[in-house]
């Protein structure tokens, strides 16, 4: 098993290995130790995904990692949308990535934006893709080294797949899903955002909506309930099941995750789709900043 080389050495490693192997798709996760022992090379690229690269990547990053800046690189510069297939191909080329490259993503803010980028990579069909469990938070807790050197990456030719729209929910999908028994919405924001007490955390004054509250019948299962608070790693599979199933978020449903701008919800999308193996999970990236600003949309508090 290539993604975890320390297995079997000690009970701690065995226990960690068992935990990862119990996920539905263990191949999408690597841990910090594995990354420290397996630097990027011609066929493996390490990419830091930051919301705030000034206080993240630019201050220090894992040796050999390139940067994807969520705001600049993965969003269309004018229209509110993710980048087009052509722009994605250009981004891959700039980061030295081919369609066959093994890509490992990690980032700031508990890997929220790394998960968003994972989702975009999957929309454009990249297969060999992993997330470093715990992101910058765990790497820093372990006092592992950073560098400010930026890698020189030769540009590549990348041909992406047509977008997989089955991973993405649009406003009309959400409107149509309200009241349907086979559809369940997961609002992954904080309880204060869910109840409409606040429309955005104070740290993000630019991301408010005109109305507070949530989409009718949505379940409030904050993203943070899927991770271990101490190091930001994902909880064990049984804990994750207990987090979602009692609230009716079950594998037989069409699951739509949303938050405020679609980044925290891509984290929960990743958990449901890849760690629990739910077959139909979509990320509604329009999220509350779209829903809570649209005239006439129903709102529940």
């Amino acid at each position: 098993m290539i993604f975890f080389l320390n297995l079997g050495k000690t009970n701690k490693y065995e226990s960690h290995f068992d935990k990862i192997m119990s996920y539905a798709h263990p191949e999408v996760l690597v841990d910090t130790e594995w990354v420290s022992q397996n630097p990027p090379n011609e066929n493996r690229k390490l990419v830091e995904v930051d919301y705030d690269p000034v206080n993240g990547y630019q201050k220090g990053h894992i040796n050999g990692a390139s940067l994807i800046w969520w705001k600049r690189d993965i969003n269309d510069p004018v229209t509110r949308d993710i980048i087009s297939k052509k722009e994605f191909e250009a981004l891959m080329s700039k980061n030295g990535i081919t369609a066959d490259t093994e890509v490992i993503l990690y980032g700031d803010f508990n890997n929220w934006f790394a998960a968003f980028v994972f989702w975009v990579f999957k929309i454009y069909g990249h297969e060999n893709l992993k997330i470093m469990n715990g992101g910058r938070k765990k790497w820093e807790l372990e006092n592992k080294d950073y560098t400010t050197d930026e890698p020189q990456l030769p540009s590549t030719t990348y041909v992406a797949q047509p977008p997989d729209e089955g991973l993405r929910a649009y406003l009309f999908d959400v409107s149509r899903g309200i009241g349907k028994e086979d559809t369940v919405m997961v609002d992954v924001r904080s309880p204060a955002e869910f109840t409409g007490q606040i429309t955005a955390p104070p740290e993000y004054p630019m991301e408010h909506a005109q109305r507070g509250g949530h989409i009718p019948d949505a379940n409030n299962i904050p993203w943070a309930t899927a991770v271990n608070d101490a190091d930001g790693t994902f909880k064990a599979v049984e804990e994750l099941r207990q987090n979602y199933e009692p609230k009716g978020v079950t594998p037989d449903k069409d699951v739509i995750c949303y938050c405020r701008i679609g980044e925290r919800s891509s984290h929960s999308w990743f958990v449901l789709k890849y760690l629990l193996g739910y077959p139909k999970v979509r990320n509604y990236d329009g999220s509350w900043t779209e829903w809570g600003n649209m005239i006439g949309n129903p709102v529940e508090k």
């Binding site: 969520w70 104070p202 993000y204």
Partner: protein, 103 residues
């Protein structure tokens, strides 16, 4: 608890609270912001609780949430001067973005 301290002056955008050793000036626009560090604010040269606010590009900027003016070095009128400067700045900003429709 800072919340329980008596308020000795207040404006639309600030409180001045009476601490044991400090007069504490609070920026009301930063209510709820998590305190990430406490260090000297270079502008006012007093200890301040600071948090981070992210701009449209996602870049974080350190902002003071409250300032601690030592009673040994500052009296209320000096703190009030800083408070009124802040009040003026925010009032002008509000006028710029949400002007009154009086005329």
């Amino acid at each position: 608890m800072l919340l329980d301290l008596p308020i000795i002056e207040k404006g639309s955008f600030y409180f001045i609270k009476d601490g044991k050793t400090d007069l504490i000036l609070e920026d009301k626009t930063k209510r709820g912001l998590e305190i990430n560090e406490t260090s000297v604010d270079e502008k006012l040269n007093v200890k301040a609780d600071k948090g981070m606010i992210h701009d449209m590009d996602g870049i974080g900027h350190w902002v003071p949430i409250r300032w601690y003016f030592s009673k040994d070095s500052y009296d209320l009128s000096e703190v009030l001067g800083h408070a009124e400067s802040m009040e003026k700045k925010y009032t002008e900003l509000r006028e710029l973005t949400c002007p009154d429709d009086d005329d």
